[in-house]
Symmetry: C2
Subunit: 314 residues, 2 copies
Amino acid sequence: MTASRALRGERRVDAELVRRVQEAAQKIGYVPDPAARALASRRSSHVAVLVPSLTNRLFVELLESAQRVLRGDGFQTLIGVTHYDPAEEEQLVREHLLHRPAGLLLCGLAQTAATRRMVADQDLPCVYMMETTAEPQACSVGFSQLDAAAAMTRHLLERGHRRIAFAAAQLDPRTLQRLEGWRRTLVEAGCHDERLVWRDPAPSSVALGVRMFEQISALRPAVDAIFFNNDDLAHGALLAAARLDIAVPGGIAIAGFNDLPESAYTAPPLTTVRTPRAEVGLRAAELLLARLRGEAPAVMQLDLGFELVVRGST
Amino acid sequence: MTASRALRGERRVDAELVRRVQEAAQKIGYVPDPAARALASRRSSHVAVLVPSLTNRLFVELLESAQRVLRGDGFQTLIGVTHYDPAEEEQLVREHLLHRPAGLLLCGLAQTAATRRMVADQDLPCVYMMETTAEPQACSVGFSQLDAAAAMTRHLLERGHRRIAFAAAQLDPRTLQRLEGWRRTLVEAGCHDERLVWRDPAPSSVALGVRMFEQISALRPAVDAIFFNNDDLAHGALLAAARLDIAVPGGIAIAGFNDLPESAYTAPPLTTVRTPRAEVGLRAAELLLARLRGEAPAVMQLDLGFELVVRGST
DNA sequence: CTGAAAGCGCTTACAG
DNA sequence: CTGAAAGCGCTTACAG
């Protein structure tokens, strides 16, 4: 029994004894059985991380950095894909709960009421990623999607553009927050026109960016800039512009969002917003680990900001 | 006890009894505890899937389809990233073994001796993905990387190209098999020149494709086609060609490998090899599940083939 | 085909 | 700070 405590690093064990126990464990190659531990303590060494998609690099980078931190502390990461659907997220949470995860990392704040209730009922430590929230009891790490979109929109205004379109796919909550950032900024500048919003619920992709650009550019010169809500859409737009022989940014300026690695190499290089997804994953995992150790986190809401990256396309 | 057997679907239980037990379980919302089950049976309901990378879409698609199948049978998927390093793969297998996974899905056949020994010692059902193998005892699902590269090389020869360069990053075993396919085909055609091999151990990326094309094209007209070993390299090459004002395929023909979604939309659209990664994940998971049920799989080696996709870049 | 016994390897809660 | 007892919720192996 004392050995069990010594190995887990519980406080009330003699330091010398701890040393001897660890030495002995080392020698015989003792490793605790996670299943027995989970059964007795009613808590496993798994952390479930649910992301909307793995085909968006954004979430892959988020995941890799979170997993690196969690693994360092002996936790296994269970990855789930929600496909941007709160109902699917709810179902995944329900399945994961059977395995009594130690903690939960979720994307966004648009959980169903049932999801929130399960998390609360089980008293499961949970950190919400990618957005900021005002809810005092929720632990979140992210940045203001609205402010980021507003910053890009202001940049386009400063470049002299007035007819600025907003083009978005997927239409998840974060996209809609960005739409609101675009809207407020243009209303304030006195050149808002809601007819310049292009939305498509399909997943974001290069192919969709091609199609969107073809439609929007048909309105030229009514539109002189397009703010695409993910870099892959903007990549497609740049390809379509080249084929249609429309100069960028001379004919139409094009901006993206996220700063994917390719965006520095497109023709012309893409102006976009760099989002701190790797750091979001890292800090969210650290915050979760702190809570699992029973520490009260120093902050409940962490805003990691964003960075405007101006290249040649605007 | 009988209820336990009925729920697990063991044979020797009266059919009527099974029905009543299931009905009762349904009514009270009974769900077996995975931790207790794992402790008693010494086998969990986890399947570990180890892939080289998550930033290559190839493996994301593989993973998503494998996870869909496994989840359907009540297995949780533990995803690990090896970064193309057999030593890291060995460490991951070691860590996962503590959790007594029910099965293992691995990429490639380049495991360390220690990894192979652990799998054999624990008698752990394992399926190897992405390559074909002649080892009769190993269960694998994939296709011939060598044949796929040979088919593309033959296509370039048929298009009239004779100075065909081979450009590759990462240099993992599958890349080297493709190199061998390129080599054999050109030797046979009497126009092999080993100096036309460009290799870079860095991860494959658009940025690297840009740099490689800049270097190789400096040799023009010594090279009249380049076979890139991943589509992202070829995407970078197309961007670099446009900037350098080199016509594709007129000046240099460019081919890729994998057929990523963007490849249909590049300028010009990319000629490439479509690889069946989603089906590899699906069939590998099905084969594993069959083994977990104790069934003898109909086949041990599954060759899913590939498809040459000829577009405008060659 | 069905059931009573024992035990998987830990941790919790209770004494000292 | 240390330890003996009980139990987490299942399955295995043995009887009937």
